[in-house]
Symmetry: C2
Subunit: 546 residues, 2 copies
C-alpha cells in the first residue's frame, strides 16, 4: 500500500487519520485510554533499518524501483503531528483517542502499530478499572497473570496497564523492575509439597525481633499447634507435618512477610455436629438438621506458626486461599483468627490479610460482595490479563481528511460510517462536576462557552437534539507530537493511575454500573451534523431502489 | 520463594516438575504443543544480570543475606534436564508436555516463563490448526491480526504459531522478516478513500507486459467500465470514480499483484426485477414474486481494471470482501467473473481469488461451508490472534518428585490431583495407524511392546480398564536440554508446520470434529495406578466424616 501511494505520487499528500473505537468493551459504557507513552516512543524511534530495507527488497516485486527503497529508508515522523487525549482519561465510542496528521504514506505506515499499542493497553486498563470498581477502594488487587498472558510482552503490558487501571501490585518481577510497580506475591503449592516432614527442616531457629535471642520456631509452633488443636477442636492428625515444615521454613526466611497458602492438602474438612467447634454454620446448607461445619486444615498450621512468630516478636501477614468457596472459606478463616486472637490476647491476628485467588473475574468479585466475605486482597491472573470476557478492543484508524478535503467511509451499518474531517472535541460538564457529553466540532467552529447553551445533535438520528449549558468546558485533545519531538511533559505511571481514578469520578454512577449501564452521550454540533450528512449524500450514489 | 528455598538449604535438592494442561481448549479434544524452541532459547540465556540483582537487593527485605544474591547471580540451567514432546505434535490433558529435572530453586524460577512461552504458543497453534481443518486444505488462510493482538510481541507470536498451525501467510511484515513466513496483504479502505476522482491520477500508463509498449490503463479501464456496465446492466453512476482511480493506481503499482477491496462505497445494491441482469437470485428470498438482485458496486470497477490489465498482458489476482453476507457476496462475485470471462473470452478472470475478511472465526468458516460459498482465501485477525473463544490455555507446572521421592498435589477436584513421580509416556497406535491412547508409566517399568497386550487404566476411575495391543509404540518425550546444551537438532518452522499436519492425521476424525468430539484416551499402567492411589491415601489425612 505504501509503495502504491509512492508510485502514484500521493505520499506527500497531507492526511488526517482518527484512531477511535466503536463500542466500549465488557458490555460497559466507558473505556480508559492507555498506551500513549508507548505510541510516542514508537514515533520517536520510527524508521526502517538497513536490514528492514534489505528484507523488503527481497520480498517485494522486482519492478519496485530503487528510489522507493531510498525514500523508505529516509522517512521519519518529523512531519507528523499527533493530538491525543491524556493517557488514563475515560473515553467513549467514536471520539478520536488520537488524531494524526502528516504525509499520507508515513501516517498510514504507523496504523497497525498504533492500533496494537492502544488496543491492548486500553483494554487492560479498562478491565483493571472495572475490577477496582467492583472490589471497592479498600481491597488490595494484585496482578498474577504472567503465566497465562499472551506472550512475554503481553504479560509485561498487562502488569503495567493493570497498575494504571487501579491494581496495587504485580507478581511479575521484571514489570516491577522496568516500571517501578510494587511487586507482591506468595509461594506456590510446590513450596508446600517440597516438604514431607518436620525432619526436613534444616533451620529451626530465628532471632527474636527485639531481643535478638535465638529461639526455636519449630518447637514453639508445635506447642501452639497442640494447644490450638484443642482450642479449635481440630485433630492434629488433620494437619500435614510437611505443610507445617514448609510454613516454618518460610516464616524463618520472611519473619516479617509470612503469608501462607492454606489449601495444598485436602483443603476442606467437613465436621458433623458433635465434632469441632461451631465456627460458622453454612447458611445455605440444604439439610439444617445435620450441623455440618467446614474447616480449612491449613489454617491450623498457619495459626500455629503465626503464634510461634508472635512469641518471637513478629507478626504474620496472612493467608492465601486458592480453591473452594472463597466467600465461605474467608469467613471461616476470619472467625478462626478472631477466636484465636481473643483467646490468646493477640489482637493483630484478628486482622491478618486474607488473599483469595483462583480464576477470579469481575463477576466473581461482585458475587462475593453479594454473599459477604472477609477477603482483603485478590490475586487475579487469567481473566485480567487475557481479558477473557472480551480479549480485544476494536480500535480502528480511519482517513478523515486528505489535502484539506474531508473524507467519509460509508457502510450499510450506520455505526461504521466515519465522522469526516479534522475535528475538535470538547467534554461538557454540568454544575455537579459530572461529564454530560463529548461534543465533536468542525475545527473552524468556536469552542462552547461556559454558561451558554449549545445545540448537541446525535450524529445519525436527526430528531435527537438537545441544548446543553455547560458549567465547564474541556478541550479533549492536546498536541503530543510535533516537529519530531514530544510536546508535553509525560506523567509518571502513578500520575496516570491517579488520572484514571479522578477521571472515572467525573462519570455518573449509572454510566459505570456493571448491569445495564446508561450510555454516555457523544454528539456533534449542528454544523458537523450537516457537513457529515451532506458528504454522505454526495458519496452515496443514487441507486434504483432502496 | 526462591529465597526461602535457599535460606532453608533446599536449593540443591533435585526436583522433577511436569508441565501439562488439564483441559483441551476451544471445547475440543486435542491440543498442538508449541513454544519449545523459545523455551530452549530461554534456558540457554537464563541468568540474573547485575541490574536484576541490584533491583532485587533494593526490593527485598534488608535481612536477605548477601550470599543469596551471590548465589542468584551464579545460577544457570547447566544442571537442568528437559525432556519434551516434539514441537508441533498433538498432545492431550494430563500428559506432561515437558518434564524438567534439576536443582529445586532453578527449576522453580523457570516456572512462570516456561508456562508463558508454552501456553500462548500452543493455544494459537491449536486455534490455527482448527481453522485449517474447518477451511479444508484448498483454502488459503492469512493471519491479519497484529492490530488487535495483545501487545506487539503477542502479535509476533500469533503470526509465528498461526503459521505453524497451518496458516499460509501473515500481514505482519516483521514476522515475515524474523521467521521467514510468507507475507501477504491487501490495501485498506483508506487507500480507496484517499482518492476522490480520476483527475487525481498522476500516472495513468503502464508498459505492456510482453511488448513493453506504454499504454493508458485509465482510458482502457473507462472503456471497459462503459462496456461492462451495459453488459451487466449496472449504471455507471453507481460506481465511484474515486474507487476506480484507486484501483487503477494500485494496478499500476502492482500489475501482477492487483487485489481490490470492493466494499468501500455503499457495498450492496439491490435491484428489482426489471433492472439489472439476473446475476444470482437470492434463494432464500422471502418474497419470490419480486425479483430482487444484489450487486457489489466495487465489482464493476474491479472488472473494468482487470479487463484493462488484460489488454496490457497482465492478470488481476482478485478481490477482498470485508463486510456483508460473505457466502452470498462471494457467489455473486464469482458469477460476475464467470459471466465476464465467458462474454469476453478471458478464461483466467473466472478463477481470480476471492478473499474474505471481517471478524471471521472457526464457526463462521463452518457456517459458510454449510451455506456454500466461492471464497478462496480467508484473512483472519482478532478471533485467531486473541483466541477469543478461549484466550488462555491453562498449563500448570507441578512438582512431582523431590530427592527421588514422589509428590502428589491433592485437591477436592479429582481433575486437579497430580500424577506423582517421574514418568515415561508412550503413545500406542493401532493397526490402521491411528493413535489409541497415551499411556503413562513409572520410569522403572518396561516399555510396551508391539503386538503384546498392555493393561491401560483410567487414572481415577477404578473400574475403567482395557487391554490394548499396540501395532506401534512411540516414546513421547525426547531429551532436549542437558549439560547446558540443546540436545536435538531443532527443526525449521516449516518442518514443525508439517509435523502439525502429520500428527493430526494420526488422530481419528471423531477426536477432531468440531461438535462433541470424542475424548482421546490418556491412561496409566496398573503399576502407576496403584502407586498414585497409595500415595493419595498416605497424604490425605483421615478425617471425621466424608
Amino acid at each position: 500500500m505504501a509503495y502504491a501511494y509512492w508510485k502514484s505520487g500521493k505520499h506527500h499528500e497531507k492526511a488526517v487519520f482518527d484512531l477511535f473505537f466503536r463500542k466500549n468493551p465488557f458490555q460497559g459504557e466507558f473505556t480508559i485510554f492507555a498506551g500513549l507513552e508507548e505510541v510516542l516512543t514508537f514515533l520517536r524511534n520510527f524508521s526502517y533499518s538497513e536490514s528492514d530495507i534489505e528484507y523488503l527488497r527481497v520480498t517485494m516485486a522486482d519492478t519496485v524501483e530503487d528510489e522507493f527503497f531510498e525514500y523508505l529508508s529516509s522517512i521519519s515522523t518529523t512531519d507528523v503531528t499527533l493530538y491525543a487525549v491524556d493517557e488514563g482519561k475515560v473515553v467513549f465510542p467514536r471520539v478520536p483517542l488520537m488524531i494524526l496528521e502528516g504525509p499520507l504514506i508515513v501516517v498510514q505506515l504507523l496504523e497497525t502499530t498504533l492500533l496494537n499499542l492502544v488496543n491492548y493497553a486500553s483494554l487492560i486498563a479498562t478491565n483493571a478499572a472495572r475490577y477496582r470498581m467492583a472490589a471497592g477502594r479498600k481491597i488490595q488487587l494484585l496482578e498474577f497473570g504472567l503465566r497465562r498472558a499472551q506472550g512475554p510482552d503481553g504479560g509485561l503490558s498487562a502488569s503495567k496497564y493493570a497498575y494504571i487501571g487501579g491494581f496495587d501490585g504485580t507478581s511479575n518481577v521484571l514489570a516491577g523492575k522496568l516500571y517501578n510497580i510494587p511487586v507482591k506475591g506468595t509461594h506456590a503449592h510446590s513450596y508446600i509439597s517440597s516438604y514431607s516432614s518436620l525432619a526436613e527442616l534444616q533451620i529451626e531457629t530465628l532471632q527474636h525481633k527485639e531481643s535478638g535471642e535465638v529461639m526455636n520456631l519449630k518447637d514453639r509452633s508445635l506447642v501452639w499447634r497442640e494447644l490450638l488443636s484443642r482450642e479449635l477442636n481440630i485433630l492434629q492428625s488433620e494437619a500435614s507435618d510437611g505443610e507445617l515444615a514448609a510454613y516454618i521454613s518460610f516464616a524463618i526466611a520472611f519473619p516479617t512477610g509470612f503469608v501462607a497458602l492454606v489449601d495444598t492438602y485436602d483443603v476442606l474438612k467437613v465436621y458433623q455436629g458433635s465434632v469441632g467447634q461451631d465456627i460458622l454454620p453454612r447458611e445455605n446448607n440444604n439439610n439444617n438438621n445435620n450441623n455440618y461445619y467446614y474447616y480449612l486444615s491449613g489454617l491450623l498450621n498457619f495459626c500455629a506458626v503465626a503464634m510461634g512468630l508472635n512469641d518471637l516478636g513478629y507478626r504474620a501477614l496472612g493467608i492465601r486461599i486458592d480453591s473452594g468457596d472463597l466467600a465461605y472459606l474467608s469467613c471461616v478463616a476470619r472467625t478462626t483468627f478472631v477466636t484465636v486472637a481473643e483467646k490468646f490476647n493477640v489482637e493483630w491476628l484478628e486482622h491478618v490479610q486474607i488473599v483469595a485467588s483462583n480464576d477470579i473475574n469481575e463477576e466473581t468479585i461482585i458475587s462475593l460482595n453479594e454473599q459477604g466475605h472477609k477477603i482483603d486482597c485478590f490475586g487475579i491472573g487469567t481473566h485480567l490479563v487475557t481479558c477473557q470476557r472480551q480479549p480485544a478492543l476494536g480500535c480502528v484508524f480511519k482517513l478523515v481528511e486528505i489535502n484539506g478535503e474531508a473524507k467519509i467511509k460509508l457502510s450499510q451499518d450506520v455505526e461504521k460510517v466515519t465522522c469526516p474531517g479534522k475535528k475538535t472535541v470538547y467534554r461538557l460538564y454540568g454544575e455537579d462536576g459530572h461529564a454530560l457529553i463529548d461534543l465533536m466540532h468542525r475545527t473552524q467552529e468556536a469552542a462552547p462557552e461556559c454558561g451558554s447553551r449549545v445545540l448537541c445533535r446525535h450524529p445519525f438520528q436527526e430528531s435527537k437534539r438537545a441544548y446543553v449549558s455547560p458549567a465547564q468546558v474541556e478541550s479533549l485533545h492536546k498536541l503530543y507530537w510535533d516537529e519530531g519531538k514530544i510536546q508535553q511533559k509525560l506523567p509518571e505511571l502513578t500520575e496516570i493511575r491517579d488520572r484514571v481514578s479522578s477521571s472515572l469520578q467525573t462519570l455518573r454512577q449509572d454510566h459505570k454500573r456493571n448491569l445495564n449501564p446508561t450510555p454516555y452521550k457523544v454528539g456533534v454540533t449542528d454544523d458537523l451534523y450537516n457537513f457529515l450528512h451532506d458528504l454522505w449524500l454526495q458519496n452515496a450514489p443514487i441507486g434504483e431502489l432502496f
